[in-house]
Protein backbone atom coordinates (compact mmCIF):
# COMPACT_ATOMS: atom_id res chain seq x y z
CA UNK A 1 0.00 0.00 0.00
CA UNK A 2 1.47 3.40 -0.98
CA UNK A 3 2.34 5.77 1.83
CA UNK A 4 -0.12 8.59 2.42
CA UNK A 5 -1.51 10.66 5.26
CA UNK A 6 -3.69 7.75 6.43
CA UNK A 7 -0.76 5.31 6.69
CA UNK A 8 1.14 8.07 8.54
CA UNK A 9 -1.75 8.43 11.01
CA UNK A 10 -1.85 4.66 11.57
CA UNK A 11 1.91 4.59 12.21
CA UNK A 12 1.49 7.50 14.60
CA UNK A 13 -1.26 5.69 16.53
CA UNK A 14 0.83 2.51 16.72
CA UNK A 15 3.99 4.21 17.85
CA UNK A 16 2.86 7.03 20.10
CA UNK A 17 0.12 6.09 22.57
CA UNK A 18 -2.57 8.74 22.83
CA UNK A 19 -1.74 10.42 19.52
CA UNK A 20 -3.40 12.00 17.75
CA UNK A 21 -5.69 13.74 20.21
CA UNK A 22 -9.20 13.69 18.76
CA UNK A 23 -11.61 16.60 18.92
CA UNK A 24 -15.09 15.39 18.04
CA UNK A 25 -16.93 18.62 18.85
CA UNK A 26 -17.54 21.02 15.96
CA UNK A 27 -14.94 23.81 15.76
CA UNK A 28 -14.73 26.95 13.64
CA UNK A 29 -11.17 27.22 12.29
CA UNK A 30 -11.79 30.58 10.60
CA UNK A 31 -12.81 32.08 13.97
CA UNK A 32 -9.56 31.16 15.77
CA UNK A 33 -11.13 28.16 17.53
CA UNK A 34 -8.58 25.64 16.25
CA UNK A 35 -5.65 27.96 16.93
CA UNK A 36 -6.95 28.70 20.45
CA UNK A 37 -6.98 24.95 21.19
CA UNK A 38 -3.51 24.39 19.72
CA UNK A 39 -2.03 27.40 21.48
CA UNK A 40 -3.33 26.30 24.89
CA UNK A 41 -2.02 22.78 24.36
CA UNK A 42 1.40 24.15 23.44
CA UNK A 43 1.42 26.44 26.50
CA UNK A 44 0.77 23.36 28.67
CA UNK A 45 3.59 21.45 27.00
CA UNK A 46 1.21 19.07 25.22
CA UNK A 47 2.58 18.84 21.68
CA UNK A 48 0.45 15.95 20.44
CA UNK A 49 -0.94 15.91 16.93
CA UNK A 50 -4.58 17.00 16.97
CA UNK A 51 -7.30 15.57 14.71
CA UNK A 52 -10.47 17.61 14.34
CA UNK A 53 -13.45 15.50 13.26
CA UNK A 54 -15.88 18.34 12.60
CA UNK A 55 -14.21 21.55 11.55
CA UNK A 56 -16.57 23.95 9.80
CA UNK A 57 -15.95 25.66 6.47
CA UNK A 58 -14.78 29.27 6.16
CA UNK A 59 -18.48 30.18 6.09
CA UNK A 60 -18.93 28.35 9.42
CA UNK A 61 -21.06 25.63 7.80
CA UNK A 62 -20.66 21.91 8.54
CA UNK A 63 -18.19 20.34 6.09
CA UNK A 64 -17.08 16.94 4.90
CA UNK A 65 -13.47 17.82 5.61
CA UNK A 66 -11.49 16.85 8.66
CA UNK A 67 -8.42 18.71 9.88
CA UNK A 68 -5.02 17.56 11.17
CA UNK A 69 -2.69 19.93 13.04
CA UNK A 70 0.54 19.73 15.05
CA UNK A 71 1.92 16.99 12.79
CA UNK A 72 5.53 18.19 13.30
CA UNK A 73 5.98 19.67 16.84
CA UNK A 74 8.09 16.79 18.27
CA UNK A 75 11.10 14.66 17.32
CA UNK A 76 9.01 11.53 17.93
CA UNK A 77 6.65 12.55 15.13
CA UNK A 78 9.55 13.39 12.80
CA UNK A 79 10.80 9.85 13.52
CA UNK A 80 7.41 8.42 12.50
CA UNK A 81 7.55 10.51 9.31
CA UNK A 82 11.05 9.32 8.41
CA UNK A 83 10.38 5.73 9.48
CA UNK A 84 13.10 5.76 12.12
CA UNK A 85 12.75 3.84 15.37
CA UNK A 86 14.82 6.17 17.49
CA UNK A 87 13.99 9.87 17.85
CA UNK A 88 17.41 11.14 18.87
CA UNK A 89 18.08 14.42 17.04
CA UNK A 90 21.37 13.34 15.46
CA UNK A 91 19.86 10.04 14.27
CA UNK A 92 17.03 12.07 12.72
CA UNK A 93 19.51 14.37 10.96
CA UNK A 94 21.41 11.38 9.61
CA UNK A 95 18.30 9.51 8.50
CA UNK A 96 16.92 12.61 6.76
CA UNK A 97 20.23 13.31 5.00
CA UNK A 98 20.63 9.72 3.87
CA UNK A 99 17.02 9.34 2.65
CA UNK A 100 17.01 12.64 0.79
CA UNK A 101 20.07 11.44 -1.16
CA UNK A 102 18.26 8.26 -2.28
CA UNK A 103 16.38 9.96 -5.14
CA UNK A 104 13.57 7.80 -6.51
CA UNK A 105 11.99 8.25 -9.96
CA UNK A 106 8.29 9.15 -9.81
CA UNK A 107 5.67 6.66 -10.88
CA UNK A 108 2.82 7.90 -13.09
CA UNK A 109 -0.50 6.19 -12.34
CA UNK A 110 -3.89 6.28 -14.09
CA UNK A 111 -6.60 8.50 -12.55
CA UNK A 112 -8.60 5.39 -11.66
CA UNK A 113 -5.75 4.32 -9.36
CA UNK A 114 -5.34 7.74 -7.75
CA UNK A 115 -7.18 8.22 -4.43
CA UNK A 116 -6.96 12.00 -4.87
CA UNK A 117 -9.41 11.64 -7.80
CA UNK A 118 -12.18 10.04 -5.74
CA UNK A 119 -14.05 13.34 -5.83
CA UNK A 120 -13.55 15.87 -8.63
CA UNK A 121 -15.00 19.37 -8.37
CA UNK A 122 -14.67 21.43 -11.51
CA UNK A 123 -14.19 25.17 -11.87
CA UNK A 124 -17.85 26.13 -12.12
CA UNK A 125 -18.95 24.47 -8.90
CA UNK A 126 -15.85 24.74 -6.73
CA UNK A 127 -15.64 27.00 -3.69
CA UNK A 128 -12.39 27.24 -1.73
CA UNK A 129 -14.48 28.57 1.17
CA UNK A 130 -15.85 25.04 1.71
CA UNK A 131 -12.49 24.09 3.24
CA UNK A 132 -11.83 24.32 7.01
CA UNK A 133 -9.27 27.13 6.73
CA UNK A 134 -7.72 28.46 9.95
CA UNK A 135 -7.11 31.94 11.12
CA UNK A 136 -3.86 31.45 13.01
CA UNK A 137 -3.00 34.62 14.97
CA UNK A 138 -4.73 37.92 15.62
CA UNK A 139 -4.22 40.41 12.80
CA UNK A 140 -4.07 37.62 10.15
CA UNK A 141 -5.31 39.20 6.91
CA UNK A 142 -7.74 36.31 6.44
CA UNK A 143 -8.00 32.55 6.85
CA UNK A 144 -4.70 30.97 5.74
CA UNK A 145 -3.80 27.66 4.13
CA UNK A 146 -0.27 26.30 4.68
CA UNK A 147 0.02 23.92 1.72
CA UNK A 148 2.88 22.33 -0.13
CA UNK A 149 2.85 23.86 -3.59
CA UNK A 150 3.99 21.68 -6.49
CA UNK A 151 5.07 23.18 -9.80
CA UNK A 152 6.72 21.98 -12.94
CA UNK A 153 9.80 23.81 -14.13
CA UNK A 154 8.92 26.05 -17.12
CA UNK A 155 10.08 24.20 -20.28
CA UNK A 156 11.41 21.35 -18.17
CA UNK A 157 10.51 18.06 -16.59
CA UNK A 158 11.61 18.71 -13.04
CA UNK A 159 9.23 19.46 -10.17
CA UNK A 160 9.61 21.85 -7.27
CA UNK A 161 7.87 21.43 -3.92
CA UNK A 162 7.69 24.33 -1.48
CA UNK A 163 5.64 25.54 1.45
CA UNK A 164 3.74 28.68 0.53
CA UNK A 165 1.18 30.26 2.76
CA UNK A 166 -1.99 31.16 0.86
CA UNK A 167 -4.63 33.60 2.08
CA UNK A 168 -8.28 32.99 1.33
CA UNK A 169 -9.85 35.75 -0.79
CA UNK A 170 -13.04 34.31 -2.30
CA UNK A 171 -14.50 31.16 -3.90
CA UNK A 172 -11.86 30.92 -6.65
CA UNK A 173 -8.98 33.05 -5.41
CA UNK A 174 -6.11 32.85 -2.96
CA UNK A 175 -3.13 35.16 -2.42
CA UNK A 176 0.20 33.33 -2.55
CA UNK A 177 3.42 34.57 -1.00
CA UNK A 178 6.71 33.60 -2.65
CA UNK A 179 10.07 34.70 -1.31
CA UNK A 180 12.80 34.82 -3.96
CA UNK A 181 13.50 31.10 -4.13
CA UNK A 182 12.81 28.37 -6.68
CA UNK A 183 9.04 28.78 -7.13
CA UNK A 184 9.48 32.54 -7.48
CA UNK A 185 12.22 31.98 -10.10
CA UNK A 186 9.85 29.75 -12.10
CA UNK A 187 7.15 32.39 -12.01
CA UNK A 188 9.52 35.21 -13.03
CA UNK A 189 10.26 33.29 -16.20
CA UNK A 190 6.61 32.51 -16.96
CA UNK A 191 5.35 36.00 -16.20
CA UNK A 192 7.91 37.54 -18.53
CA UNK A 193 6.07 35.67 -21.32
CA UNK A 194 2.73 37.03 -20.04
CA UNK A 195 1.67 33.49 -19.19
CA UNK A 196 0.16 31.99 -16.07
CA UNK A 197 1.85 29.21 -14.12
CA UNK A 198 -0.12 26.03 -13.23
CA UNK A 199 0.45 24.76 -9.69
CA UNK A 200 -0.98 22.09 -7.43
CA UNK A 201 -1.86 23.14 -3.86
CA UNK A 202 -1.39 19.97 -1.80
CA UNK A 203 -3.28 20.00 1.49
CA UNK A 204 -2.29 16.70 3.08
CA UNK A 205 -0.05 13.73 2.33
CA UNK A 206 2.40 11.56 4.26
CA UNK A 207 4.60 13.91 6.32
CA UNK A 208 7.75 12.65 4.54
CA UNK A 209 6.30 14.13 1.35
CA UNK A 210 5.47 17.39 3.14
CA UNK A 211 9.05 17.61 4.50
CA UNK A 212 10.44 17.58 0.95
CA UNK A 213 9.07 21.12 0.64
CA UNK A 214 11.60 22.54 3.06
CA UNK A 215 14.51 20.51 1.65
CA UNK A 216 17.47 22.60 0.48
CA UNK A 217 17.91 21.07 -2.97
CA UNK A 218 19.88 22.61 -5.88
CA UNK A 219 17.55 24.02 -8.55
CA UNK A 220 18.56 21.44 -11.17
CA UNK A 221 17.25 18.52 -9.15
CA UNK A 222 13.74 17.09 -9.00
CA UNK A 223 12.02 17.49 -5.63
CA UNK A 224 9.42 14.82 -6.47
CA UNK A 225 12.39 12.43 -6.54
CA UNK A 226 13.63 13.81 -3.21
CA UNK A 227 10.13 13.22 -1.80
CA UNK A 228 10.43 9.62 -3.06
CA UNK A 229 13.72 9.28 -1.18
CA UNK A 230 12.14 10.57 2.03
CA UNK A 231 9.11 8.29 1.58
CA UNK A 232 11.36 5.32 0.87
CA UNK A 233 9.30 4.56 -2.26
CA UNK A 234 8.59 6.33 -5.57
CA UNK A 235 6.13 9.20 -5.31
CA UNK A 236 3.00 8.27 -7.27
CA UNK A 237 1.72 11.09 -9.45
CA UNK A 238 -1.26 11.54 -11.76
CA UNK A 239 -2.15 14.01 -14.53
CA UNK A 240 -4.12 16.97 -13.17
CA UNK A 241 -7.73 17.61 -14.18
CA UNK A 242 -7.12 21.13 -15.41
CA UNK A 243 -3.73 20.73 -17.11
CA UNK A 244 -3.41 17.02 -17.89
CA UNK A 245 0.19 15.86 -18.29
CA UNK A 246 1.45 19.45 -18.19
CA UNK A 247 1.08 19.22 -14.40
CA UNK A 248 1.42 15.93 -12.56
CA UNK A 249 0.11 16.02 -8.98
CA UNK A 250 0.62 13.58 -6.08
CA UNK A 251 -1.85 10.71 -6.56
CA UNK A 252 -2.03 9.83 -2.85
CA UNK A 253 -2.66 13.36 -1.58
CA UNK A 254 -5.79 14.04 0.45
CA UNK A 255 -6.74 17.25 -1.35
CA UNK A 256 -5.24 19.13 -4.30
CA UNK A 257 -6.45 22.53 -5.47
CA UNK A 258 -5.38 22.90 -9.08
CA UNK A 259 -5.02 26.35 -10.52
CA UNK A 260 -2.60 28.97 -11.70
CA UNK A 261 -0.67 32.01 -10.57
CA UNK A 262 -1.81 34.82 -12.86
CA UNK A 263 0.55 37.18 -14.71
CA UNK A 264 0.34 40.94 -14.25
CA UNK A 265 -1.98 40.55 -11.29
CA UNK A 266 -1.27 41.15 -7.61
CA UNK A 267 -3.37 41.23 -4.48
CA UNK A 268 -3.19 42.39 -0.86
CA UNK A 269 -1.95 39.71 1.51
CA UNK A 270 -1.27 39.63 5.25
CA UNK A 271 -0.53 40.48 7.94
CA UNK A 272 0.56 36.94 8.81
CA UNK A 273 2.59 35.40 11.67
CA UNK A 274 6.03 34.18 10.58
CA UNK A 275 8.08 31.35 12.07
CA UNK A 276 9.99 34.05 13.97
CA UNK A 277 6.82 34.60 16.03
CA UNK A 278 6.53 38.11 14.63
CA UNK A 279 3.59 39.27 12.57
CA UNK A 280 4.72 40.17 9.05
CA UNK A 281 3.04 43.25 7.47
CA UNK A 282 0.31 43.44 4.85
CA UNK A 283 1.96 43.46 1.45
CA UNK A 284 1.35 42.87 -2.23
CA UNK A 285 1.52 39.20 -3.15
CA UNK A 286 0.64 37.12 -6.17
CA UNK A 287 -2.83 35.99 -7.21
CA UNK A 288 -3.88 32.34 -7.58
CA UNK A 289 -7.04 31.27 -9.41
CA UNK A 290 -8.47 27.80 -8.81
CA UNK A 291 -9.57 25.62 -11.76
CA UNK A 292 -10.43 22.36 -9.96
CA UNK A 293 -10.40 20.73 -6.54
CA UNK A 294 -9.87 16.99 -6.29
CA UNK A 295 -9.93 15.04 -3.04
CA UNK A 296 -10.42 11.69 -1.36
CA UNK A 297 -13.67 10.68 0.31
CA UNK A 298 -13.87 12.24 3.80
CA UNK A 299 -10.70 14.23 3.09
CA UNK A 300 -8.24 15.15 5.84
CA UNK A 301 -6.75 18.60 5.44
CA UNK A 302 -3.37 19.29 7.03
CA UNK A 303 -2.45 22.68 8.42
CA UNK A 304 0.76 23.94 10.03
CA UNK A 305 0.13 26.25 12.99
CA UNK A 306 1.75 29.55 11.96
CA UNK A 307 4.15 31.40 14.28
CA UNK A 308 4.20 28.48 16.70
CA UNK A 309 6.50 25.52 17.34
CA UNK A 310 4.91 23.49 14.51
CA UNK A 311 6.03 26.14 12.02
CA UNK A 312 9.65 25.92 13.22
CA UNK A 313 9.70 22.11 13.29
CA UNK A 314 8.41 21.98 9.70
CA UNK A 315 11.78 23.54 8.76
CA UNK A 316 13.60 20.48 10.14
CA UNK A 317 15.29 19.64 6.78
CA UNK A 318 17.08 23.01 6.92
CA UNK A 319 18.38 22.25 10.43
CA UNK A 320 19.62 18.86 9.14
CA UNK A 321 21.46 20.51 6.24
CA UNK A 322 23.14 22.95 8.63
CA UNK A 323 24.22 20.01 10.81
CA UNK A 324 25.79 18.36 7.77
CA UNK A 325 27.76 21.47 6.81
CA UNK A 326 29.05 22.11 10.33
CA UNK A 327 30.03 18.47 10.84
CA UNK A 328 31.95 18.48 7.54
CA UNK A 329 34.08 21.36 8.81
CA UNK A 330 34.58 20.22 12.43
CA UNK A 331 34.19 16.50 13.01
CA UNK A 332 34.07 16.98 16.79
CA UNK A 333 30.59 18.56 16.44
CA UNK A 334 28.17 16.28 18.22
CA UNK A 335 24.81 17.96 17.84
CA UNK A 336 23.15 21.23 16.83
CA UNK A 337 19.78 22.68 17.70
CA UNK A 338 17.71 25.79 17.16
CA UNK A 339 16.81 27.28 20.53
CA UNK A 340 13.02 27.28 20.37
CA UNK A 341 12.68 30.58 22.18
CA UNK A 342 14.71 32.34 19.51
CA UNK A 343 13.22 30.61 16.48
CA UNK A 344 15.87 29.72 13.94
CA UNK A 345 17.97 32.83 14.65
CA UNK A 346 19.56 31.17 17.69
CA UNK A 347 21.61 28.07 16.95
CA UNK A 348 23.40 26.01 19.57
CA UNK A 349 26.29 23.73 18.67
CA UNK A 350 27.56 21.13 21.12
CA UNK A 351 31.00 19.76 20.37
CA UNK A 352 34.06 17.95 21.66
CA UNK A 353 36.69 20.64 21.33
CA UNK A 354 40.19 19.38 20.48
CA UNK A 355 41.94 22.71 20.00
CA UNK A 356 41.09 26.29 20.88
CA UNK A 357 39.56 28.08 17.90
CA UNK A 358 37.53 25.10 16.72
CA UNK A 359 34.27 26.46 18.19
CA UNK A 360 34.75 29.64 16.11
CA UNK A 361 35.21 27.63 12.93
CA UNK A 362 32.15 25.50 13.67
CA UNK A 363 30.07 28.63 14.33
CA UNK A 364 31.28 30.29 11.14
CA UNK A 365 30.38 27.18 9.15
CA UNK A 366 26.85 27.37 10.54
CA UNK A 367 26.55 31.09 9.80
CA UNK A 368 27.75 30.58 6.24
CA UNK A 369 25.39 27.63 5.69
CA UNK A 370 22.17 29.58 6.16
CA UNK A 371 20.94 33.12 6.69
CA UNK A 372 18.34 31.63 9.02
CA UNK A 373 21.05 31.89 11.69
CA UNK A 374 22.09 35.07 13.45
CA UNK A 375 23.49 34.16 16.89
CA UNK A 376 25.51 30.99 17.53
CA UNK A 377 26.22 29.53 20.97
CA UNK A 378 28.88 26.82 21.19
CA UNK A 379 28.91 24.54 24.25
CA UNK A 380 30.77 21.39 25.30
CA UNK A 381 29.43 17.98 24.33
CA UNK A 382 28.26 17.11 27.87
CA UNK A 383 25.46 19.68 27.51
CA UNK A 384 22.17 19.24 25.71
CA UNK A 385 21.89 21.97 23.04
CA UNK A 386 18.09 21.72 23.12
CA UNK A 387 18.05 22.63 26.80
CA UNK A 388 18.08 26.43 27.09
CA UNK A 389 18.97 26.18 30.81
CA UNK A 390 22.11 24.17 30.00
CA UNK A 391 23.07 26.67 27.33
CA UNK A 392 22.62 29.70 29.59
CA UNK A 393 24.54 27.89 32.36
CA UNK A 394 27.48 27.56 29.97
CA UNK A 395 27.24 31.20 28.88
CA UNK A 396 27.27 32.36 32.49
CA UNK A 397 30.00 30.01 33.77
CA UNK A 398 32.34 29.27 30.88
CA UNK A 399 32.50 32.56 29.07
CA UNK A 400 34.44 35.84 29.30
CA UNK A 401 32.86 38.64 27.30
CA UNK A 402 36.12 40.25 26.14
CA UNK A 403 37.58 37.10 24.61
CA UNK A 404 34.78 34.60 24.00
CA UNK A 405 32.20 36.79 22.29
CA UNK A 406 32.68 37.84 18.68
CA UNK A 407 30.48 40.23 16.73
CA UNK A 408 30.55 39.78 12.97
CA UNK A 409 29.71 42.76 10.76
CA UNK A 410 28.13 43.07 7.34
CA UNK A 411 26.76 39.60 6.85
CA UNK A 412 23.60 38.80 4.93
CA UNK A 413 20.60 38.73 7.26
CA UNK A 414 17.07 37.37 7.00
CA UNK A 415 14.38 39.50 5.36
CA UNK A 416 12.05 38.46 8.18
CA UNK A 417 14.28 40.06 10.83
CA UNK A 418 12.90 43.55 11.53
CA UNK A 419 15.92 44.48 13.63
CA UNK A 420 17.99 44.72 10.43
CA UNK A 421 18.80 48.38 9.81
CA UNK A 422 19.65 47.74 6.20
CA UNK A 423 17.31 45.63 4.02
CA UNK A 424 19.59 42.59 3.68
CA UNK A 425 22.78 43.23 5.65
CA UNK A 426 23.28 42.89 9.36
CA UNK A 427 25.50 41.44 12.05
CA UNK A 428 26.12 38.07 13.60
CA UNK A 429 27.21 36.93 17.04
CA UNK A 430 29.27 33.98 18.21
CA UNK A 431 29.42 33.04 21.88
CA UNK A 432 32.04 30.43 22.61
CA UNK A 433 30.86 28.95 25.91
CA UNK A 434 33.10 25.89 25.82
CA UNK A 435 35.43 25.32 28.76
CA UNK A 436 39.11 26.26 28.17
CA UNK A 437 41.55 23.44 27.36
CA UNK A 438 44.68 25.02 28.88
CA UNK A 439 43.79 24.69 32.57
CA UNK A 440 41.75 22.50 34.91
CA UNK A 441 38.12 23.61 35.25
CA UNK A 442 35.70 23.08 38.13
CA UNK A 443 33.17 20.33 37.45
CA UNK A 444 29.44 21.06 37.18
CA UNK A 445 27.52 20.34 40.38
CA UNK A 446 25.69 17.03 40.20
CA UNK A 447 24.43 14.23 42.48
CA UNK A 448 25.87 10.73 42.59
CA UNK A 449 23.79 8.92 39.93
CA UNK A 450 23.44 5.76 42.11
CA UNK A 451 21.89 7.81 44.92
CA UNK A 452 19.49 9.56 42.56
CA UNK A 453 18.38 6.29 41.01
CA UNK A 454 17.66 4.70 44.40
CA UNK A 455 15.21 7.35 45.53
CA UNK A 456 11.68 7.40 44.13
CA UNK A 457 10.11 10.72 45.00
CA UNK A 458 6.58 9.26 45.29
CA UNK A 459 7.79 7.04 48.16
CA UNK A 460 8.63 10.10 50.25
CA UNK A 461 6.34 12.88 49.11
CA UNK A 462 2.70 12.45 48.31
CA UNK A 463 1.54 14.93 45.70
Amino acid sequence: MPKDLRTWLRDLEDRIPGEPLRVSKAVKPASFEVSSILHQLEERGNLSAVFFDKPTSVKAEPSDYRLLCHAFTTREKLAVSLDLQDSNRVSLFEKYLESSRQRKKTEIVAPSEAPVKEVIIREKSLDIGDLPIMRHNSMDGGPYLTPVVVAREPNGERYNTSWNRMMYIDSHHLAIYMSPRHLWTYFQEVEARQESMPIGVVLGHHMAFMLSASALVPPDEDEYEVAGGLLGEPLRVVPSEAYGERLLVPADAEIVIEGEILPQRRTLEGPFGEFTKLIGPQRLSWLFRARAITHRHRPIMHSVFGAHLDHLYAHFPIEASIFQRVKQVITGVKDICWLHSGGSFHLVISMKKRTEGEPMRAAMAALSASNFIKHVFVVDDDLDPENAKDVMWAVSNCCQADSDITVLHNIQGQLLDPSLRQETKGSGLIIDATRPLDRPYSPRAALPPEALEKIRLEDYISS
Binding site: G141, I169, R266, T267, G270, P281, R283, L415, P418
Partner: protein, 77 residues
Protein backbone atom coordinates in the same frame (compact mmCIF):
# COMPACT_ATOMS: atom_id res chain seq x y z
CA UNK B 1 11.19 45.94 4.84
CA UNK B 2 10.01 49.35 6.04
CA UNK B 3 6.59 49.14 7.62
CA UNK B 4 3.91 51.65 8.45
CA UNK B 5 1.02 51.44 10.91
CA UNK B 6 -2.43 52.47 9.69
CA UNK B 7 -5.78 52.85 11.43
CA UNK B 8 -8.92 51.46 9.88
CA UNK B 9 -11.51 54.24 9.37
CA UNK B 10 -14.39 51.86 10.17
CA UNK B 11 -13.28 49.91 13.27
CA UNK B 12 -10.39 52.20 14.23
CA UNK B 13 -8.08 49.26 14.88
CA UNK B 14 -4.47 49.45 13.82
CA UNK B 15 -2.37 47.11 11.68
CA UNK B 16 0.87 47.40 9.74
CA UNK B 17 1.70 47.23 6.05
CA UNK B 18 4.69 47.44 3.74
CA UNK B 19 5.44 51.19 3.69
CA UNK B 20 5.72 51.07 -0.11
CA UNK B 21 1.99 50.32 -0.37
CA UNK B 22 1.19 53.85 0.76
CA UNK B 23 3.01 55.26 -2.23
CA UNK B 24 0.82 53.29 -4.65
CA UNK B 25 -2.68 54.11 -5.81
CA UNK B 26 -4.33 51.11 -4.16
CA UNK B 27 -6.56 50.60 -1.11
CA UNK B 28 -5.57 48.68 2.03
CA UNK B 29 -7.50 45.84 3.66
CA UNK B 30 -8.48 45.88 7.31
CA UNK B 31 -7.80 42.42 8.80
CA UNK B 32 -10.33 43.04 11.58
CA UNK B 33 -13.48 44.25 9.82
CA UNK B 34 -12.63 43.35 6.19
CA UNK B 35 -13.02 46.90 4.92
CA UNK B 36 -11.05 47.97 1.84
CA UNK B 37 -10.18 51.63 2.30
CA UNK B 38 -7.97 54.42 1.03
CA UNK B 39 -5.35 55.25 3.66
CA UNK B 40 -5.90 58.77 4.87
CA UNK B 41 -2.39 60.03 4.36
CA UNK B 42 -0.19 58.56 1.69
CA UNK B 43 2.93 58.84 3.79
CA UNK B 44 4.88 56.24 1.85
CA UNK B 45 7.80 57.31 -0.22
CA UNK B 46 6.58 57.58 -3.80
CA UNK B 47 8.50 55.14 -5.92
CA UNK B 48 10.21 56.95 -8.80
CA UNK B 49 8.27 56.48 -12.07
CA UNK B 50 9.21 53.28 -13.87
CA UNK B 51 10.68 51.61 -10.78
CA UNK B 52 9.97 47.89 -10.80
CA UNK B 53 8.09 46.87 -7.67
CA UNK B 54 7.39 43.16 -7.26
CA UNK B 55 8.57 42.60 -10.79
CA UNK B 56 6.10 45.06 -12.33
CA UNK B 57 6.87 48.54 -13.64
CA UNK B 58 3.36 49.81 -12.91
CA UNK B 59 1.15 48.95 -9.97
CA UNK B 60 -2.36 50.32 -9.97
CA UNK B 61 -5.95 49.26 -9.48
CA UNK B 62 -6.00 47.34 -12.76
CA UNK B 63 -3.49 44.80 -11.60
CA UNK B 64 -4.91 44.63 -8.07
CA UNK B 65 -7.44 41.89 -7.46
CA UNK B 66 -10.19 42.56 -4.93
CA UNK B 67 -12.62 39.88 -3.77
CA UNK B 68 -15.76 39.34 -5.81
CA UNK B 69 -18.12 40.73 -3.16
CA UNK B 70 -15.98 43.86 -2.92
CA UNK B 71 -16.49 44.72 -6.59
CA UNK B 72 -20.26 44.69 -6.11
CA UNK B 73 -20.21 47.04 -3.15
CA UNK B 74 -20.42 50.81 -3.62
CA UNK B 75 -17.15 52.60 -2.89
CA UNK B 76 -16.74 53.10 0.82
CA UNK B 77 -15.16 55.80 2.91
Amino acid sequence: MKIHYVNCPQCNKSFHCDANLLGLDIPLHCPYCDLYFEPEERKGEQLPKGTAFMGLSRIDRKILYLPVQEKKRPTKV
